[in-house]
């Protein structure tokens, strides 16, 4: 049982010009290979997203931290299955003064599911990276304790990958036998 629900989602369409937020413009100036985009939202400001190559993620996060994105919010992984790169790690950080949220996406290929760990910049990424490792199998180089966190230690496989079955058991209903 593989992908449910249709096609692999396309990436957010990036407007060609540079982002218009002052913090992001500074980041864009220092990192040329990072592409910025915006996702529109209903009755709220647009969501600013940066697509960062794997090798530059630690430098990028350090620059973001220095610029004021002090609050670490989230790190999760998505399995796009048929796309290359297959996995995407999504980091979410928040600047408080002035308030601005930045979503950083990093592509991680299937044949080499590793990524540098950002726990050196944001210690709060510790548990989140362990969770991404546990559920997706993405290894974070430099993580102090990369072990399973949600599943038992002797579990085999990474459940949230798209090629891992949901694991449902067949459910019998009362009328099932009467059908014969």
């Amino acid at each position: 049982m593989t992908a449910k629900g249709g096609e692999v989602p396309p990436e957010a369409q990036a407007p060609p010009e540079l982002p218009n937020h002052p913090l992001l413009s500074e980041l864009a100036a220092s990192f040329e290979e990072v592409s910025f985009s915006q996702v529109p939202r209903v009755e709220a400001g647009p969501q600013d997203t940066a697509l960062v190559p794997r090798e530059q993620i630690v430098a990028f996060m350090e620059a973001a931290f220095d610029l004021g994105y002090r609050m670490f919010v989230d790190l999760c992984a998505v399995d796009y299955f048929r796309r290359d790169p297959r996995f995407e790690v999504v980091v979410n950080v928040l600047a408080l003064d002035p308030p601005h949220r930045l979503i950083v996406r990093v592509g991680v290929p299937a044949d080499d599911p590793t990524m540098p760990s950002i726990t050196g910049v944001y210690p709060g990424a510790n548990f989140y990276e362990r969770e991404a490792f546990d559920l997706f199998g993405i290894q974070f180089a430099g993580h102090p304790d990369l072990t399973r966190i949600l599943l038992p230690d002797d579990w085999e496989g990474h459940p949230l990958r798209k090629d891992y079955e949901v694991g449902s058991v067949p459910v019998q209903f009362k009328g099932a036998h009467r059908a014969e």
Binding site: L151, P152, W155, P159, Y164, E165, V166, G167, V169
Partner: protein
Amino acid sequence: MAGAAEPSGFLLTSLEKGVNWARTQSMWPATFGLACCAIEMMAAGAAHNDLARFGMEVFRASPRQADLMIVAGRVSQKMAPVLRQVYDQMAEPKWVISMGACASTGGMFNNYALVQGVDEVVPVDMYVPGCPPGPQSLMHGILSLQAQITSGEIKRPVVQL
């Protein structure tokens, strides 16, 4: 000495009835609240719906002092050995109530992470449906369990012969 023969004779069956009745009137639950059902279990023990009037005044944290294990909530694969260990630490006679849909059958989470029914791990005496069952449903389950123990439908040895 014979094996565990059925007690017979007028005195012994009255004793059995008396002991069973006494067992139901002061059954102490072990705290095994796991998820949302635990909140409703606590609500059942709170003042509005009072479990203390049925003898369940104290929820004992130590399984060694408890006789009833109310499995309230979803049991994950990681928690199952802990559940079994706590059950084993309880002294006889002990009973188990499986509270809620997740404990009884895995509930709406038919997936890799949950044990699909706590009766795969421990023997269950009473299932209470609901998601979560309100305090009144839980009390109905507890009172039904008490009735079944008193009537002898659910047997636990009274006298070992």
